[in-house]
């Protein structure tokens, strides 16, 4: 992870760390914080704790997003302090979820814009001049349009990949595929590094092909406190606890000192949290395979 972040995430980069609730790569975010990257433009539909931590650590210049909260548990208080109290400079660029999906979709498809039927009679276009109108050449109606988003680097977490980066994902896939194809560089972080034959046994599960991947990192528990379907549950208790940590800037700093700066890597992080396995290891719920014969 250290080498992948050092090689692919630079000061001033536009980066996407995607994953909708599922597969949020905290290990990569922590390494970015540890390496003290600065002036990043961070793109995520749901900034989540991962963005709150990166904002508190001073990595983020601009946040491009569509829902900034701690779902079911509270707020992202470092984010709120930056926006409400201007405690540190933070530019924001805001869409609805589909607006963000559309930006990644355009970037992934090699198009300059993506049309959508949102934003009529809303205030968002007044505060974001990247929400514009396009006219249909067939019906004459006008639709909303958003521009392509092409991050310098996208980091996606996946259940498994081979050494070439052919990555397979199940459960909620969110916008991982579009975010990866939109990017100039792609880092794939996985729970399991598997033989190419495992990937080839079920090619319909491959979400991201190795040909667009620049680095593969094997990092078990790399998504905690987010979750990985079939590998570990979401640490809801920590999400709830974050409300208290994040409310208090000093306590947040202390958290970063203890769990990010104070640790060398994810391995040490897992060692520092000895009950993870007992608390979050799932009950198995395996499906049957299917037949690819001909």
């Amino acid at each position: 992870m250290h080498d992948a972040i050092a090689a692919h995430v630079h000061d001033g980069d536009t980066i996407a760390i995607e994953g909708f609730t599922h597969l949020i790569c905290f290990a990569a975010a922590h390494e970015i914080i540890r390496q003290r990257r600065r002036n990043l433009t961070l793109c995520r539909l749901t900034p989540d704790l991962v963005a709150d931590q990166m904002i508190a650590a001073g990595c983020v210049k601009r946040l491009v997003f569509s829902w900034a909260g701690n779902p079911g548990a509270g707020s992202l208080h470092a984010f709120r302090r930056a926006v409400e109290k201007k405690e540190r400079p933070l530019e924001i660029e805001e869409y609805s979820h589909f607006g963000m999906v559309a930006r990644f979709s355009a970037g992934a498809a090699g198009l300059p814009f993506w049309p959508l039927r949102t934003y009529e009679d809303t205030s968002l276009p007044q505060v974001n001049d990247r929400i514009r109108r396009v006219t249909c050449p067939f019906t004459g109606e006008t639709l909303a349009a958003v521009p392509a988003l092409t991050p310098d680097v996208t980091i996606v977490h996946a259940q498994r990949a081979d050494r070439a980066g052919n990555a397979q994902v199940w459960g909620i896939t969110g916008v991982q595929k579009e975010a990866a194809f939109a990017a100039k560089r792609v880092v794939v972080v996985v729970e399991e590094l598997v033989d190419e034959d495992v990937i080839r046994s079920d090619p319909n599960r491959t979400l991201i092909p190795g040909m667009i991947v620049n680095a593969v990192v094997h990092e078990p528990w790399g998504a905690h406190p987010s979750y990985v379907q079939g590998y570990y549950d979401r640490d809801n208790a920590f999400y709830v606890e974050w409300e208290e940590i994040s409310k208090d800037a000093a306590r947040l700093d202390q958290y970063l000192d203890e769990f990010v700066f104070g640790l060398r890597d994810r391995h040490e992080y897992v060692d520092r949290l000895p009950q993870l396995r007992e608390r979050l290891t799932p009950e198995p719920h395996r499906c049957d395979g299917v037949d690819y014969g001909f």
């Binding site: 909708f20 609730t21 599922h22 539909l45 749901t46 997003f65 569509s66 829902w67 900034a68 909260g69 779902p71 079911g72 548990a73 707020s75 984010f79 709120r80 926006v83 409400e84 805001e94 869409y95 609805s96 979820h97 589909f98 607006g99 999906v101 979709s105 959508l116 039927r117 949102t118 934003y119 009529e120 009679d121 809303t122 205030s123 968002l124 505060v127 199940w170 459960g171 909620i172 896939t173 969110g174 916008v175 595929k177 579009e178 979750y227 379907q229 549950d233 979401r234 809801n236 999400y239 709830v240 799932p282 719920h285």
Partner: protein, 240 residues
């Protein structure tokens, strides 16, 4: 909506709010559901009169059967045993924008006379008093669901004449269910109108909770109390 007797008034109005919301759903409806009260109301409806309700969450899980109450709309329990997990691009384009959603269930930090919803900021956008989470998928749900139902507690700050920021347009809002009363949206006048009161709530009490000169439907109904079986089912769900 028949009148109710004094003995029923002891029922918690927040429970009534959930039961009323559940009653809005018809068997077979395809419902796009947010976390929290909307999720609870949908699961209640499924346990009662709408076993074939299809629940869709913006995380892409279709036909979910959660084995525990999810804390977030992306909870792994919404995936295990679902009928389908769709990528978000498909959720927003093929399902919502294509018009396959019958009912959209939204919460609101503010909702105004016209039914417009604010979940973005309190105050000015560039200098907000309170920064709220923002749209998420709400702007799309409000634009594309055939009927939009809003569930939120009655409070003067939450019901202004005009919201500070329109996150989601009000044009498809049909009903707003609160803990004191129900508003229906008069589509001709683009305005929320008081249509029914909970037991023991007065019109003045509701007027005190909204920031505009409220119109009242005639006749004004009283909300029927939830049946004991519905309340039992609700309590069972809350414990699950």
């Amino acid at each position: 909506m028949a009148s109710i007797t004094a003995s029923d008034a002891a029922i918690d109005h927040r429970d009534v709010m959930v039961c009323v919301a559940a009653s809005e759903l018809r068997d077979g409806d395809v419902v796009f559901v947010g976390i929290g009260l909307p999720s609870l109301a949908c699961n209640l409806a499924r346990a009662m009169h709408a076993p074939n309700l299809q629940l869709i969450y913006e995380s892409g899980t279709v036909g979910t059967r959660p084995q525990r109450i999810p804390l977030s709309i992306g909870d792994p329990a919404l995936v295990t045993g679902a009928l389908m997990v769709a990528p978000m691009a498909d959720v927003f384009q093929l399902i919502l924008q294509r018009g396959h959603i019958d009912v959209g269930f939204l919460g609101a930090a503010q909702i105004d006379r016209a039914g417009n919803i604010n979940t973005t900021i309190v105050g000015r956008y560039d200098a907000p008093k309170v920064r709220l989470p923002g749209s998420g998928g709400a702007a799309e749900i409000a634009a594309h669901a055939k009927r939009v139902i809003v569930v939120t507690s009655l409070d003067k700050r939450a019901f202004p004449e005009r919201v500070d920021f329109i996150t989601s347009p009000g044009r498809r809002v049909t009903r707003v269910i609160t803990d004191k009363c129900i508003f229906d949206r008069d589509a001709g006048r683009h305005e929320l109108v008081l249509s029914a009161l909970y037991a023991g709530v007065s019109v003045d009490e509701v007027r005190a909770g909204v920031g505009w000169d409220l119109r009242v439907a005639a006749p004004l109904s009283e909300v029927a109390p939830p049946s004991p079986s519905m309340l039992t089912a609700l309590r069972r769900l809350r414990k699950a």
